[in-house]
């Protein structure tokens, strides 16, 4: 980790430096990802889908950041762009102080084991024609994570750590249940000795009991190996359970970012408030103060002017319609993009 980059980052724009710390593993600065819309006939770009529109955050080593938001708000796109599985439009991503987008393909390939991903769908993310041992061990062999003589034992150990049996090695993914498959995915990610794992809704395809198993497995692994997670989910209670910090996204932008407890105790952004009001409370007598959002999420191809949320916001002011709110720290460690908290 080169400290010079950190210095440079800190010397940059104030809004970024304010939430970049020395022990940050991953720093995302003003990341933008636009998907061009092409006319059907002449293939001319007529517009952009602003899937990720100027998002900045950082994750401390050994912690978990939750990323929540509605479907289509750009959570997964952020994840994939961070991993450089697709190109960015603008911004920078620093992993251990290294700009991921500045790497050559070969350098990136060498770096890949450090940053892993667990996919949402455990069914399609496993190659159907390879046995599980091969799925997990293929990249281990490729990157030489362990010496060849320890390879077999290592795969067995990793599998055991993820709750799989040794004899599963020769089996094919279709022979496993969803939960087991997700364990295979985790084992595959874990086997590469990663520092960071992007969990792209890893439990949303699983039933609740399995979800708990997987979440606990992830937490356990984190405790043991000190892995950093970016946990993308739309399940707020899961995020609350696993995350140290939580970012709330709306229409490609970060609306609010804070420590988990801080955020859940005192959500500042009207969208966050609306979102959290939807969390069911396991008490039939509890009175839920639901904030019902009107309308649906606007098209990311043509986002509203000013604050992107103003079309649905119950506390909308004149300024919201014309001026985009700054994403700023209103409380220590609590960032929000809302005109309600503008310094008067």
């Amino acid at each position: 980790m080169s400290s010079s980059i950190k210095e440079e980052m800190k010397a940059g724009t104030a809004d970024v430096s304010s939430y970049v710390h020395d022990d940050d593993l991953l720093v995302v600065k003003h990341l933008k990802k636009y998907f061009p819309i092409k006319s059907s006939f002449f293939r001319v770009t007529v517009g952009n889908v602003k899937a990720v529109d100027d998002v900045s955050f950082s994750i401390k080593k050994g912690t978990t950041m939750g990323l929540v938001g509605e479907s289509g708000c750009g959570k997964s796109t952020i994840g994939r762009t961070i991993l450089r599985l697709q190109d960015k439009t603008a911004g920078e991503v620093y992993f251990n102080g290294i700009d991921i987008f500045s790497l050559s393909h070969e350098e990136l390939r060498k770096m890949r084991p450090k940053i892993q991903i667990i996919f949402q769908d455990p069914y399609s993310s496993l190659s159907p024609r390879l046995p599980v041992g091969e799925i997990i061990g293929e990249a281990v062999r490729e990157h030489g994570i362990v010496p060849p003589e320890e390879y077999d034992a290592y795969i067995t150990r990793i599998m055991k750590a993820c709750g799989l049996q040794e004899y599963h090695k020769q089996r094919y993914p279709h022979e496993f249940s969803g939960g087991q498959r997700q364990r295979i995915c985790i084992a595959r990610a874990l086997a590469l000795n990663p520092e960071f794992i992007l969990c792209d809704e890893p439990v949303s395809a699983l039933d609740v009991s399995i979800q708990a198993q997987i979440i606990n497995l992830l937490k356990e692994l984190q405790k043991e190996f000190g892995i950093t997670y970016l946990f993308i989910s739309h399940d707020l209670s899961v995020v609350q359970h696993i995350s140290d910090t939580v970012g709330v996204m709306y229409l490609g932008s970060m609306a609010e970012l804070a420590e988990t407890d801080e955020l859940f105790d005192d959500p500042l952004h009207p969208y966050t408030q609306a979102l959290f009001s939807a969390i069911p409370i396991p008490d039939p007598d509890a009175k839920i103060d639901r904030v019902i959002l009107e309308g649906s999420i606007p098209s990311p191809a043509n986002p509203p002017k000013g604050c992107k949320f103003h079309t649905r916001c119950s506390k909308c002011m004149e300024i919201c319609k014309s001026e985009c709110p700054e994403f700023r720290e209103v409380k220590p460690g609590h960032f929000v993009a809302c005109h309600l908290y503008d310094e008067k």
């Binding site: 993310s125 024609r129 004899y167 190996f225 000190g226």
Partner: protein, 685 residues
């Protein structure tokens, strides 16, 4: 926690667990199914799944048999695919033919005198007319040369052509042209002084009376047409003298006859024929006609020799014909012959014995050779005559002819002569021809031979062994199938792979090409190509290569589309993203993750394709557009017996086994293809 290796952590944990277990020291058995799960390699798994499919096993067995049958069996089978087999068999053969002569043949007697073809043609028509009218003599004038012939009937069926000799015997001189008279004006032109008005009147009267001689004033005048209408030449012949060529004194009667024939040009005097010819304006020659000797003889008779196969010269034949109705004896080349008649036939015999016979029937071996003996000819003649007399169309008789063994060789008896056997001869009349048939041994191509110990499936229309052709045909059908499918796969995988992997304009271009290839109607193209190959008269093997190339070239589009579709869908699969995220190299991603997922579909597609290519090849060959005779394929073999409905029923033993081979092979390929598809699909239990 910094840079902690998982392996170290996990090892430590394992060691701790082991220590714990050792402390507990209980040999508990974990609920771990390592003991009951047999670990199989993926290939073995596929094989096991395949093995479980009964139909696939049946298909494999059939295919193994087909391959052995086509590629191994011919090595041990003694017959080749184009070997033609023969057999000896007795069959009704045309033995001889007979016909009654009703046209005349000409025999030249005078070699020096060439008779014009026109005259010969006239002869035949005149002979026909003479036979009809019963005339004995006919004059023929050659219009080109002015030569005169006489056609004389010598006797029944024999005519003689003689020429006419001309000899100038004398000339008439001393006559004088008096005038040219114009009958229209009544005036004479270029008249001499002694043409009086009275003479003119007499001329006019003679013209009016249509007389040619005119006696006027004690003189004889001849009035002849001057060649122009109404103009007449008048000659004074009173002073005309006949001078004989030999200087002798002219006969007064002859002179008068010449004068009388002045206009007509021909006359007869004292039984001799004469002619007058205007040689000049004051001289008329007189020629005497006389018959010459025979120039040509024409006869209907056919000459048969007592010596089988002996030929007669035209001179001999002419001599015979001359003697036939005349002296009955003649000499030819120092041998004297006599002619004797026997009913309608004439026998020519010399001192040595009978030499030749004349009859109105021509009787020969069916191949045209005149090798039959006289006795046989006479027998046949008699049979035909009785047949005709009774008005029958068919007759049969028994006659002894040289015997043949079953190999078609004549059997030679102990005495050195051919052994004879009695054979029933059938005579049939058709269009004035008589055909003699009998059972004879013949060396034949063994066509459509039924199943026998020598040929298990019989022989085909060309006398080739059906079993051998089935084997070699299988070779070609299977080879065509494999090569065409291989070509399709090579083309298809390359094109589909390029399209799927690079997408963008490469994909668009290749897919439009695929669309075009899918639009091409294969059958018409192949039919056109078949016709072109026919036209080029390509060698069978070259043609086969071309056919495979064209079939492969036309068939790649489907494979390309399949591969492209697979690659496109696989590229978007999350496991491909996962492979990228784990940092696998591109080649590894392609060959470990993409290709294995495409290959099963390709194998299944290829296996199924094999069947359809075999069907295609058979169809083309059946239509005569594919592989050409004599190269055997299953299609051509079926085609060879489809000429008629009747053939298809009668020769079912040829096309049913071949058809079964095609069906079995195609079905087997489909079974195996199905089996492979199921076996490759890991989701199949």
């Amino acid at each position: 926690m910094e840079n902690k290796n998982f392996n170290e952590v996990l090892k430590a944990r394992e060691a701790a667990e082991q220590a714990e277990n050792a402390q507990q020291d209980t040999d508990y058995v974990a609920l771990d199914d390592t003991q009951r799960v047999k670990v199989l390699s993926p290939g073995r798994l596929v094989f096991n799944r395949f093995k479980r499919n009964k139909l696939a096993i049946v298909g494999t067995a059939i295919l193994v048999f087909m391959f052995l049958f086509s590629f191994l069996f011919p090595v041990f089978y003694s017959y080749g695919q184009t070997e033609i087999f023969y057999k000896y068999d007795t069959m009704m053969t045309n033995y001889a033919s007979a016909s009654r002569r009703d046209s005349y043949s000409n025999y030249q007697v005078d070699k020096d005198h060439k008779v014009n073809d026109k005259v010969k043609n006239m002869m035949t028509s005149y002979i026909a007319r003479m036979e009809e009218e019963g005339n004995e003599k006919q004059e023929i004038t050659d219009e080109e040369t002015g030569f005169v012939y006489y056609l004389n009937k010598l006797g029944e069926n024999v005519y003689e052509l003689t020429g006419v000799a001309q000899e100038e015997v004398g000339a008439l001189t001393g006559f004088e042209k008096v005038c040219t008279y114009n009958a229209k004006t009544g005036k004479s032109i270029t008249a001499s002084e002694n043409v009086t008005a009275e003479l003119e009147n007499a001329i006019a009267a003679a013209i009016k009376d249509d007389q040619t001689t005119l006696n006027f004033g004690g003189k004889v005048f001849i009035v002849t047409s001057a060649g122009k209408k109404n103009f007449y030449d008048v000659y004074d012949l009173s002073a005309a003298e006949l001078e004989m060529s030999d200087g002798s004194q002219a006969d007064a009667g002859l002179r008068n006859a010449v004068i009388a024939a002045f206009v007509e040009g021909k006359f007869t005097y004292n039984g001799e024929s004469y002619g007058v010819e205007n040689s000049s304006s004051d001289r008329i020659s007189v020629v005497k006609f006389s018959d010459s000797s025979a120039l040509m003889l024409s006869s209907k008779y056919v000459f048969h020799s007592f010596e089988a196969g002996a030929e007669f010269s035209d001179e001999f034949k002419a001599a015979v014909l001359e003697a036939l109705y005349g002296e009955k004896t003649f000499e030819y080349e120092g041998v004297s012959y006599t002619v004797s008649s026997n009913d309608n036939e004439y026998i020519i015999s010399s001192a040595k014995g009978d030499y030749a016979e004349l009859s109105l029937y021509s009787i020969r071996r069916y191949n045209g050779e005149d090798t039959l003996d006289m006795d046989f000819k006479r027998t046949v003649r008699k049979q035909i005559e009785t047949m005709d007399a009774e008005g029958k169309k068919e007759a049969s008789f028994v006659y002894a002819i040289p015997e043949m063994d079953e190999k078609g060789q004549y059997i030679v008896g102990e005495d050195g002569n051919y052994a004879l056997e009695d054979v029933e001869m059938t005579i049939t009349r058709k269009d004035g021809q008589y055909v003699l048939k009998c059972e004879r041994t013949a060396h034949l191509i063994d066509i459509y031979g039924p199943s026998s110990s020598k040929h298990w499936f019989g022989t085909d229309a060309d006398g080739m062994d059906v079993l051998a052709r089935m084997m070699y045909g299988g070779r070609i059908s299977l080879m065509v199938g494999f090569i065409v499918v291989a070509l399709e796969l090579i083309f298809g995988v390359i094109m589909g792979g390029l399209a799927g992997f690079f997408s963008g304009w490469v994909d668009t271009l290749i897919m439009r090409l695929v669309d075009i290839f899918n639009c091409i109607p294969t059958m018409p193209i192949l039919i056109i190509l078949g016709a072109i190959f026919d036209d080029q008269k390509l060698n069978s093997y070259v043609r086969l290569m071309w056919m495979m190339a064209v079939l492969g070239f036309l068939g790649w589009a489907g494979v390309a589309r399949l591969v492209r579709g697979q690659i496109l869908s696989l590229r978007e699969q999350e496991f491909m993203t996962a492979a990228e995220a784990t940092g696998l190299s591109t080649s590894r991603r392609i060959f470990r993750h993409l290709v294995p997922n495409v290959i099963p579909q390709l194998i299944v597609n290829a296996t199924m394709g094999l069947g359809s290519v075999i069907i295609y090849e058979s169809t083309l060959s059946f239509l005569g557009l594919g592989v050409k005779h004599p190269l055997a394929t299953w299609g051509t073999m079926i085609n060879s017996v489809t000429s008629s409905n009747e053939n298809m029923i009668r020769y079912a033993y040829i096309w049913i086994p071949v058809g079964l081979l095609i069906c079995l092979t195609v079905v087997a390929f489909n079974f195996v293809g199905d089996g492979l598809r199921d076996a490759f699909d890991p989701k199949m239990k």
